[in-house]
Assembly symmetry: C2
Homo-oligomer: 367 residues x 2
């Protein structure tokens, strides 16, 4: 198969609104470096992190608590601390963290036999010399070009061979959301028969948390918008509760066997945070990888220390999380939740619809 | 030695001010239950927890952030959730968690040979059937009578034989503060050569943290009031910084080797909390066992998750922490910081002076 020299793709041209996303058909096809592979993108999933990076929500100078509206409040943001890893973002940048595809070329240090492999890409790019050093990690589609294009390159170690009957669009729902969710449950040490509260359970990470918590044999209490509860139940939650419920805390307590939960896996944040800590049993664990309803929350240190709680952040994960995810996919333990597909040229429409949060599961771009 | 039938001691008669502490000379000497020992109190150390319990500061309904003044704001508190363990407090209660003394009697299930042993008391009372179950733990001097009296009883397993040249007043500085501090460092996994920031380093737990962090070979940056810095340096801190310093964050960064710290051990809370999290390195650990400057703090969930931080509460500890503490005392790795001694009748004066926080180390009551 001949590799063209130019390709279609989407450039992020700066920090800002949707107008910063520019569809192009003349982007140079990248060349793999020695330790890298060239991947023909079959599909690339969408994530909040695409929008957070574009709007510099990760920057400390943006503190709005108004949810997705607040995330558009990028006026004061500095581009030099706008990414997950806190390092600078350069433009133009091709975003897109969730790639399923096929290896079509390799760098000179990579075995030719990898050409033709069907792969899923681990989006955490680690320094090969110090792969366990969190401070050196970068993200695919953020610190380097990602998957909103026909071709992309990644270090060979990031391209995991995957053997599955699932299509590329279905596979592309997994990488970012499911590795993040699995890492959250690793940090919280969620165990069989424990009760876990999952907030924002209809989204990409939320629905991944539901499935992965069930793989661990936990009892899942899931919070989502009222109109999505049936779908979240179908994903596998034992109990679903509408976040509009007037007495949310009481409803959750009644849904547990002992009136409290062992783990809270939260990707929403906002004003319910104190309630989540109150719901935790003594010695309970709270873990977060997002705060779409507002990042600044009230913490009562007495609750934290008198109940011996643990609060965990989960972003930069060790390599074994992704390997385990690929295993679970191959063993058919996880079902893809493909909400909708879009073409590269439709990226603006896709992100607008994504932000409305009317869907359950994942949006995917197909080049 | 004949055991009298009545003794001198201090009754806490209810939730409230210093007037709730009543000195008496007609308190019945307690009888040890089957698994218990009777201890003649040599000395009993004072702690914030005495005052927190009296003023029901542990109750969720008290949320003042005004420090020791705020802790006296007990008007709305409920006595049924006023203790560490969240269980009810009954009156009259003899407080006092930090007892050094001598076993003078034993219950029928305890070996007579223990009579005459010099002991230090582990204040965490565990259910003998389930000693690792945090939810069943109670505190000596809170859920049961403690050491502000001539005699007290405890489960035999809580009375640790101690072989040392230190006097009882010196020994009584250790139990509550040092076991709490050691448990904080256990949870935060403080390791050799790591940098630890210790807040409130002049108090009982704070000065214990300084010593115990040095035992672990960490680099200690200690925050305290300006007038106590020399004393905190003498305790062993590598760097001392006055909390009145205008740019505290910058001063701390300059005191580290890499501009950030690995662990924050905080017993102060209050408005500096966001700064402590900003100072933590990626993957850093924050641990708390108190919040004297105010329990309700602003938490930026982005800081927690994007830096993969861990926030730990430390209250109910496993048994091995106290055993290790006794070992360190016997091996002379810790020096007692005896600030001042008082008699039982002087308890009101002692607590008033204690609350002024002009001292470094621990106050002790000698019956």
């Amino acid at each position: 198969m001949a590799i063209p020299t130019t390709m279609r793709g989407v450039y992020l041209t700066g920090i800002g609104g949707l107008d910063k996303l520019v569809y192009r058909d003349d982007i140079p096809v990248p060349l793999p470096q020695a330790e890298e592979v060239l991947v023909k993108v079959g599909a690339c999933g969408m994530n909040n992190t695409d929008i957070n990076t574009r709007t510099a929500w990760y920057s400390k100078s943006v503190t709005s608590e108004t949810g997705s509206g607040g995330r558009e409040g990028f006026a004061e943001a500095q581009s030099n601390d706008s990414t997950w890893a806190g390092s600078g973002l350069t433009f133009p940048r091709i975003q897109g963290a969730d790639v399923a595809g096929c290896i079509v070329g390799v760098g000179k240090a990579v075995d030719d036999n990898r050409i033709g492999e069907r792969v899923l890409i681990d989006p955490w790019i680690r320094d090969p010399a110090t792969p366990t050093d969190r401070s050196l990690a970068g993200y695919f589609g953020s610190e380097r070009d990602g998957g909103y294009a026909e071709y992309t390159t990644v270090p060979s170690v990031n391209a995991y061979r995957v053997d599955t009957e699932l299509g590329d669009s279905e596979l592309a729902t997994f990488p970012c959301s499911y590795s993040t969710a699995e890492y959250m449950l690793v940090r919280a040490r969620l165990a069989q028969d424990e009760a876990v509260l999952i907030t924002g359970a209809s989204g990409g990470v939320g629905s991944a948390l539901v499935q992965l918590a069930k793989v661990r044999g936990a009892r899942v209490i899931a919070i989502a918008g009222r109109e999505k509860l049936d779908e979240v139940r179908n994903v596998g939650a034992d109990v679903v509760i509408g976040r509009e419920q007037s007495n949310l805390e009481q409803a959750i307590r009644e849904a547990t066997l002992k009136g409290e939960v062992d783990v809270v896996a939260d990707i929403v944040g906002g004003s319910n945070f104190p309630t989540w800590l109150d719901l935790l049993a003594r010695g309970g664990r709270y873990v977060t990888s997002g705060a779409i309803a507002g990042p600044i929350v009230d913490l009562d240190l007495r609750t934290l220390y008198l109940k011996d709680l643990e609060l965990w952040g989960a972003t930069v994960m060790p390599q074994d999380v992704f390997a385990r995810l690929v295993d679970m996919i191959e063993q058919r333990k996880l079902k893809p939740l493909l909400a909708k597909t879009f073409s590269l040229a439709e990226i603006g429409t896709a992100q607008s619809e994504f932000l409305k949060k009317k869907h359950v599961g994942n949006f995917v771009i197909v080049p």
